[in-house]
C-alpha cells in the first residue's frame, strides 16, 4: 500500500506545483516589462548603446505607470524604436492603429529606394531575382543586378535556397559565353535576407576560402560565436575584376553579401554607406497580440570591426542626383563603375 499512496501524493504535489507559473498578466504595463525582458535577455546589441536596457526601462516606466493603456505602450515602444535604440532591425508589429503622432520618426531618403533603370545596359536576362546583361558601350563588361537576397525579402528562412536564386549559374554562364572580362555586381536598393542566400551568390564570385563574417548570439549572459566561411562554388566569375555597387538601402543580408564580396582579391566597392542593420532578427510576442522584432545576433567583420548602425562605407562614394529615375536615367553609379574598370585596364577587345 505504501508505494501506491506515496506515488499518489507525489503525483499530486507535482501536479499542484507544475500548474502554477503560467498565468499571464495581459496589462500594458506587463507587456512593457515583457518587452524589456526581451531586450535584456534576447537582444544581441543590449551592450552597444550609451545606456543599459535597465536605464532605458527606468526612463519610461513612470510613463506607463501613469497611463497603463495600449496607446501609451505603443507610443513608448515606437519612441524606443525610433529615437533610442535606432536599430534598423528593431520594430513593433501591430495591426492596431494608435495615435503615435507625438513620436518623431526618422524618414529615410527616397533616393536610395530607386532601383536602376539599366539605361547603360543591354539587358540579356531578367528574372524575379536578377537582371543581367552587358554594358552597352563596353560589351566586355558584364552586369548583374541582384534584386533580393531571399524570396521572403528580409526574412531568415535560411536553408531553402530558392530555385530563382540558383538561376545565377545560368546568368553567369550566359555572361561568360559572351566573353566578359569584368563584372559590375549591383545590389543597391534591395533589402536584406538570410545568411545563406548572400553567401550562395557570393560563392560565384569569391576566389578563395576565407572567413568573411563573425556572428555572435546571446546565450544567457554570454555570447556564442560563429565564424562564417566562404568557398568558391558553382559556375563563377572569379578571375576578372568586379565593381560592387551598394547604397543606403543595403541592409542585413545585403551587408553580409558586401562582407563576403570584400574578401575577393579583385573587387572595387562603390556607392554609399549601407544601413548598418547588423545581425539577424527574430520576433517575440507580447500578450496583447503585438509582436516585437529584435536583433537576436550581432554580426561584424571577420577582424571584429563593427558596422552596427554605422554601416559599411565604400572607399568611393557615388550617388545619383534627385532627378534620377524621374527626369533622366543616366546612372551615376554604373557610369562610375565603368570608369573604374576602364581605369584598371579593362578595354573592349572586340
Amino acid at each position: 500500500m505504501y508505494p501506491f499512496r506515496a506515488s499518489c501524493l507525489f503525483f499530486l504535489l507535482i501536479f499542484l506545483s507544475c500548474s502554477k507559473g503560467f498565468d499571464v498578466d495581459t496589462s500594458p504595463k506587463a507587456d512593457f516589462e515583457l518587452f524589456f525582458e526581451y531586450l535584456k535577455k534576447d537582444y544581441a546589441y543590449r551592450d552597444y548603446h550609451p545606456f543599459t536596457m535597465e536605464e532605458l526601462r527606468q526612463k519610461y516606466v513612470s510613463q506607463i505607470e501613469r497611463s497603463n493603456t495600449k496607446n501609451t505602450l505603443a507610443t513608448i515602444l515606437l519612441e524606443i524604436q525610433e529615437n533610442e535604440l535606432k536599430d534598423p532591425h528593431v520594430s513593433i508589429l501591430s495591426d492596431e492603429p494608435y495615435d503615435i503622432s507625438s513620436v518623431p520618426q526618422v524618414i529615410g531618403s527616397d533616393l536610395e529606394k530607386i532601383a536602376p533603370a539599366f539605361a547603360e545596359i543591354t539587358v540579356d536576362i531578367t528574372t524575379d531575382f536578377y537582371t543581367s546583361g552587358v554594358v552597352t558601350a563596353q560589351p566586355n563588361i558584364g552586369y548583374l543586378y541582384i534584386r533580393a537576397f531571399n524570396y521572403d525579402t528580409g526574412g531568415s528562412n535560411s536553408l531553402g535556397i530558392e530555385d530563382g536564386i540558383k538561376e545565377i549559374d545560368t546568368l553567369l554562364q550566359s555572361l561568360i559565353a559572351k566573353k566578359v572580362t569584368a563584372m559590375i555586381v549591383d545590389m543597391r536598393s534591395g533589402a536584406g535576407g538570410s545568411n545563406y542566400v548572400p553567401r550562395y551568390i557570393a560563392q560565384r564570385f569569391i576566389d578563395k576560402t576565407v572567413t568573411y563574417m563573425v556572428e555572435q548570439y546571446p546565450v544567457g549572459d554570454s555570447f556564442e560565436r560563429k565564424e562564417w566561411e566562404i568557398s568558391p562554388s558553382g559556375i563563377g566569375f572569379r578571375d576578372g575584376k568586379v565593381v560592387l555597387i551598394s547604397n543606403g538601402l543595403t541592409a542585413s543580408g545585403g551587408e553580409f553579401f558586401v562582407l563576403a564580396m570584400l574578401q575577393r582579391d579583385q573587387v572595387t566597392h562603390i556607392g554609399s554607406t549601407s544601413m548598418g542593420a547588423a545581425g539577424n532578427i527574430t520576433e517575440k510576442d507580447l500578450s496583447n497580440g503585438w509582436n516585437v522584432q529584435i536583433t537576436n545576433s550581432r554580426t561584424e567583420f571577420a577582424d571584429g570591426t563593427q558596422y552596427f548602425k554605422v554601416g559599411i562605407t565604400p572607399p568611393t562614394i557615388v550617388k545619383n542626383d534627385l532627378d534620377y529615375g524621374f527626369l533622366h536615367t543616366g546612372d551615376a553609379l554604373i557610369q562610375e563603375a565603368v570608369r573604374v574598370l576602364e581605369a584598371t585596364g579593362v578595354t573592349n577587345l572586340r
Binding site: 500500500m1 505504501y2 508505494p3 501506491f4 499512496r5 506515488s7 499518489c8 507525489f10 503525483f11 499530486l12 507535482i14 501536479f15 507544475c18 500548474s19 507559473g21 503560467f22 499571464v24 495581459t26 515583457l34 525582458e37 526581451y38 535577455k41 534576447d42 508589429l93 521572403d152 526574412g155 531568415s156 528562412n157 535560411s158 536553408l159 545568411n195 545563406y196 556572428e215 548570439y217 546571446p218 546565450v219 544567457g220 556564442e224 560563429k226 539577424n280 532578427i281 527574430t282 520576433e283 517575440k284 510576442d285 507580447l286 500578450s287 496583447n288 497580440g289 503585438w290 509582436n291 522584432q293 537576436n296 545576433s297
Partner: protein, 263 residues
C-alpha cells in the same frame, strides 16, 4: 483543477474500499492502443517568454508482458498539433513530440492482496520538435535519451475494473538541443553541410534531474469486456523543465481512450 483533485482522492478512497481479489501472479502478453487529446502548456524561451498553449492529438501504443512478479513493457507516445500564445494570433508553432519507453519492473513486497506495486528501471527516449509557422523563426528540438525509475501500481476493482497508476522519472541521460535563439545559426550550418542527423546530435550534454526534469504520470482505468479485450480511459500528466541553454518548461495533460488485447 479542483474537480481533478476530487477525482483523484475519490479514486484512491473508492479503490481502497472496494478492491477485492487482486490476482497479479498470472502470465499475460498485452498489446494496447489509445488515442486522445493532449492539452499542452509550454514556455520555450527560444521563441517567447510567454507560454504557448494548444490541444494536440495524442497517440499511444505499446506492449506489456507480465510474468509472475515481473513486468516488461514497451510503450510509444506521439503527439502533434498547433500551439499558440493566448491573445496573439501571429506566432503559431507546429508541435511534434513523442517518446519511446522500455520498463523492466519487479513486484515489491507487500502484505496486501488487493494492490500490486512494481518498481524498476526505465529506459526513455523522447523528442520534442517545434516548427514555427512564422518565416522569421526557425525550428527547435530537444532529444533526450536517459534512464531512470518507474513505479507501477495496479488495483483490481472487482472482476471488471482495474486501475493502473504509473510514474516514470528519468534520472540521468543525454540531451541534445538545437542551437536556436529563435533563429538557428551553427546548427543550420551543420545541417547544410552534414545533414539533419549530424545537426540533431550536435551538442550533447549531460542531463540530470536538476537541469532536465521529465516526470510522467499516467492513470489508467481498465474495463474488461471479454476474456481477451479491455477498454481503458487514460489520464496522463507530464511535467517538463529543461534549464539550459534557454528555459523550456511546461505541462501536458492527456485524456485518451484505448483498447487492450491480451494474447
Amino acid at each position: 483543477m479542483r474537480h481533478f483533485l476530487t477525482l483523484i482522492w475519490f479514486l484512491i478512497a473508492v479503490v481502497s474500499a472496494v478492491a477485492q481479489n487482486a490476482s497479479e501472479n498470472n502470465k499475460s502478453k498485452t498489446l494496447f492502443l489509445a488515442y486522445g487529446q493532449n492539452e499542452h502548456l509550454k514556455m520555450d524561451e527560444t521563441y517567447s517568454r510567454l507560454p504557448k498553449k494548444g490541444l494536440v492529438h495524442d497517440f499511444n501504443f505499446g506492449y506489456e508482458k507480465q510474468n509472475d512478479n515481473k513486468v516488461f513493457s514497451l510503450e510509444t507516445r506521439f503527439s502533434t498539433g498547433e500551439l499558440g500564445t493566448d491573445g496573439n494570433d501571429i506566432n503559431f508553432i507546429d508541435h511534434y513530440g513523442g517518446n519511446f519507453k522500455a520498463r523492466w519492473l519487479k513486484k515489491t513486497k507487500g502484505k496486501s492482496t488487493k494492490i500490486a506495486s512494481y518498481l524498476g528501471i526505465l529506459h526513455d527516449v523522447r523528442a520534442d520538435v517545434w516548427f514555427p509557422k512564422n518565416n522569421e523563426l526557425r525550428y527547435a528540438w530537444d532529444i533526450y535519451w536517459g534512464v531512470g525509475i518507474s513505479l507501477k501500481t495496479r488495483y483490481t476493482i472487482g472482476s471488471k475494473i482495474t486501475l493502473d497508476y504509473t510514474l516514470d522519472l528519468p534520472l540521468i541521460g543525454v540531451l541534445w538541443r538545437s542551437h536556436n535563439n529563435g533563429q538557428q545559426l551553427s546548427t543550420e550550418e551543420i545541417q547544410l553541410e552534414k545533414g539533419i542527423l549530424a545537426a540533431s546530435l550536435e551538442t550533447p550534454r549531460l542531463a540530470y534531474l536538476s537541469n532536465t526534469t521529465y516526470i510522467d504520470n499516467v492513470l489508467k482505468v481498465h474495463f474488461t469486456t471479454s476474456e481477451r479485450t479491455r477498454f481503458f480511459y487514460r489520464f496522463g500528466f507530464t511535467h517538463q523543465n529543461i534549464q539550459q541553454p534557454l528555459l523550456k518548461k511546461g505541462t501536458e495533460k492527456t485524456n485518451s481512450i484505448g483498447f487492450n488485447y491480451q494474447f
